[in-house]
């Protein structure tokens, strides 16, 4: 059987490895736009307080996966899925279309940019990938070389926004966090824990602004500005307003798509040869499971299912998460 996986995050890599452990005969090909290897996405939020992060964030090199008989094609973008002849086409011109018997979509998610901010995309950073982190670190070291720390604005006080604000603040930078709601991480935390989080962030030097209606951004010489009712200047902005599943390929191929790629309880899309898992998969209950533990669980289950070792439907495991905010411990369980 020829199995093609698109994506080299935790979903794609965990699936590929488990798949290999079930079978030595299947041809397993993993195609990814990444070049750096398989890295830890949670660690992106610790990307400033650790000097060696660009190396230590790599959990496995692609060569290590290749040594396990997984054919990794890196630095390549898949441009189309051709469902009638079961092939995928890539951006690399010398590659002829690749045939699959089973196609696994593990394309993950991009940063969600609210429509209002899209016209200004030259003016802000996101922190969603190792490439983003490297760009941010490069920018930061250029400013730091002028013997001052950069002043940051973080737009969005959800999980990632709070983590990044915290990590920049403990690294010595002045940080202002803009949040639209009246409390931080309101989706995951109870009110009491939001208040505690606010206190912890303020103590570490973060200036937290709640109930903010950010209308847009503007540029003034070397500074970028956040426009609310007033205009405040910064060296750089990071927009962290949630994630957007990468459904474009599936849409082009006319697969059923909602917020994510729609799958049944066996992670099968509306095409029986194509599966989706991880951040990009939307289950019949409307849920997307964008956390490490359920994604690993999905990957292992799906590999077993395709190997004929699992027959029942996938059931989500019990899981929780924890914001990587320096010095913050929630008193109550997170709502995931």
């Amino acid at each position: 059987m020829r199995i093609i996986i698109i994506g080299s995050g935790i979903a794609g890599v965990s699936f590929a490895e488990k798949c290999r452990s079930y079978s030595t005969d299947d041809e397993i090909t993993l195609i990814t736009g990444e070049n750096s290897g398989y890295y830890s996405r949670p660690l992106l939020s610790r990307g400033f307080s650790k000097d060696d992060i660009e190396q230590t964030i790599i959990l496995k090199t692609f060569d290590k996966l290749r040594a396990n008989n997984i054919n990794v094609i890196s630095g390549v973008k898949i441009t189309a899925i051709n469902r009638t002849d079961k092939t995928v086409t890539s951006s690399s011109q010398d590659d002829s279309p690749l045939h699959y018997d089973k196609l696994i979509l593990a394309t993950g998610s991009a940063a969600f940019i609210p429509p209002l901010f899209r016209p200004y995309n030259e003016l802000f950073f996101c922190l969603n990938s190792l490439t983003d982190l490297k760009a941010l670190r490069k920018f930061r070291s250029e400013i730091t070389r002028q013997n001052r720390p950069p002043a940051w604005a973080i737009i969005g006080g959800g999980l990632i926004g709070c983590e990044v604000a915290s990590d920049l603040a403990v690294s010595g930078d002045p940080v202002t966090l803009f949040h639209a709601m009246d409390r931080l991480m309101e989706r995951q935390l109870v009110t009491e824990d939001s208040a505690l989080l606010l206190e912890v962030l303020q103590k570490s030097g973060v200036k937290v602004l709640l109930n903010q209606n950010v209308k847009g951004f503007s540029k003034q010489e070397n500074k970028v500005c956040v426009d609310t009712n007033v205009t405040i200047e910064f060296d750089a902005l990071i927009v962290s307003c949630g994630f957007k599943p990468r459904t474009e390929l599936a849409e082009l191929a006319n697969l059923e798509v909602g917020r994510g790629i729609k799958v049944n309880q066996s992670m099968q899309t509306s095409d029986e040869s194509i599966y989706a898992l991880g951040d990009v998969a939307e289950f019949p209950n409307g849920k997307l499971y964008a956390f490490i533990l359920p994604i690993r669980n999905q990957a292992h289950w799906l590999a077993g299912f395709i190997a004929g070792q699992e027959s029942a439907n996938w059931t989500p495991p019990v899981f929780t998460t924890k914001a990587k905010v320096h010095g913050f411990e929630a008193a109550h369980p997170y709502n995931v």
Partner: protein
């Protein structure tokens, strides 16, 4: 020995079981948590040992 303990990574939920160790990262079965090197990291999400808590 039945008093082996388990530790859970609070970030991703990975469980380190002293009885099993972690073969992939070279930790032998039976290795006590305190004997796991300080620079050992969660094999699933990469965070440091300090992110683990005792599972009871």
């Amino acid at each position: 020995m039945s008093d082996y303990k388990k530790y859970v990574c609070e970030v991703c939920g990975h469980i380190y079981d002293e009885a099993d160790g972690d073969e992939d990262t070279g930790i032998a079965p039976g290795t006590r948590w305190e004997d796991v090197p300080d620079d050992w990291r969660c094999p699933e999400c990469g965070v440091e040992k300090s992110e683990y808590i005792l599972l009871d």
